[in-house]
Subunit: 261 residues, 2 copies
């Protein structure tokens, strides 16, 4: 872990807000800027990173007494419990203490080599897994909290921020995903999950707001096909996303400076 310059946790208070999609696209985008990136998926019950990157058939290999992560590209390495399950319908029926041990192994025994960024995709909520990883990783730059705009999701953002504060993990900021939708036929706006709830919560809680990603059926398709949308042609969604990642990079630099001062 000491050879990793920046560590982020991607958290969400609620499931299904696109947290793994944000984590994958952030990791791929950073790796496309010639950064050396690791992506660690600690969602033990529902690992979705292998599917999102079309790596379901891959397995991990031993490297001495360490585990070698799966290479997505020269600059991006991935580790997920999905690589250890015999097939995708297998359920991991483990209680908290066993999950803690697995996460410990993921944190200590994966040979990432030197990394500029480690992006950690946590399962939703404030349960055993994020608690374990925060305690085990130490010295993370902070948490990126993903939400959708509706009130029900925003309540869970507040829980998430309370959780980070109690564990003394800095919050880098909030991303509002599935924010607003434009009909592809008539180009009119449709408020499916609403818009602005995440931004409002960030303001209330005095947390940086990182930006909005519109709801876009192409993102769902790109997820199902295992092709991150940052690899696609320029779209309003991609533009919104790159602005967010630029903000995250700057905040990460500032966080490290503050820590080493």
């Amino acid at each position: 872990m000491e050879n990793i310059a920046h560590k982020f946790l991607v958290l969400s208070g609620k499931g299904g807000v696109g947290k793994s999609s944000v984590a994958v696209n952030l990791a791929v985008w950073l790796s496309m800027q010639s950064k050396r990136v690791g992506l660690l998926d600690i969602d033990i019950h529902g690992p979705s990173i292998p599917k999102l990157l079309n790596l379901e058939s891959k397995g991990v290999q031993a490297a001495g007494d360490k585990i070698r992560p799966v290479s997505y590209s020269d600059t991006l390495k991935i580790m997920s419990i999905g690589f250890l399950l015999p097939d995708e319908s297998n359920a991991v029926i483990w209680r908290g203490p066993m999950k803690h041990n697995l996460i410990k192994q993921f944190v200590t025994d994966v040979c990432w080599a030197e990394l500029d960024y480690l992006v950690i995709d946590c399962p939703p909520g404030t349960g055993d897994e994020p608690l374990s990883v925060i305690q085990l990783v130490g010295n993370a730059d902070g948490a990126i909290i993903v939400t959708t705009p509706q009130q029900l999701a925003v309540i869970d953002v507040k829980k998430c921020i309370t959780f980070c504060r109690q564990l003394k993990l800095p919050v880098l900021g909030v991303i509002e995903n599935m924010s607003g939708f434009t009909c592809p036929h008539c180009n009119k706006n449709i408020d499916i999950f609403g818009s602005g709830g995440g931004e409002k919560a960030a303001k209330e809680l005095q947390i940086p707001f990182l930006g909005k990603i519109p709801l876009d059926e192409k993102i769902v398709v790109s997820g199902d096909e295992g092709k991150p949308f940052v690899l696609s042609e320029e779209t309003p969604t991609l533009k919104a996303f790159t602005e967010i990642t630029n903000r995250i990079e700057k905040l990460a630099e500032a966080s490290v400076k503050a820590r080493t001062r």
Copy 2:
């Protein structure tokens, strides 16, 4: 628990698929048919039932050495950890063993009195909470699995079914939520999360398919306002939902008959 005729668990492999919304509307709808219904929310990190029913200001009271559930109506009683938290931004930072103890209390110490139905809303995934409740409740009619149509969600349905089979919990069926979307401006179909994925998975895994609920921005609003959509006027969504609940009632009767034969 022995005074409860039917017990259902509402499960999902993945978060954000509308599981709690289905659980709430199922419970309210059954209670509107003059059934005596209990709704137990065991999502400890993100309880959303109090918000969905506009009961956030309510607290539970003691009744001797038991806990009295909150009354939504004469025929519907609710229990959720949300009623025990000082405010909605509080996060429960507990590991598995403490969660097991809380669920045990919820199962044994809440005075539901006689019920026709107990609907149990579980957190997403196959973690400590559903594992505990399945073991503690005993003799449930079965699980209702909620999914969205995209492939990524369907993988998690398979995990969920494997989980139920390993724990010998019957699966009543699969509900496909957020299935298809019609633009309210131009009335054209838009495939946001696709359609048919849950139905296909049910067929593959030889599990009854309970039906599709369309994506409907009115459901999001009704959730945020704390008014279950089964109380609203007749809409295609409501029609789809009542057909699903009719199927569930029939399956529940058959499940009890099979058990007592």
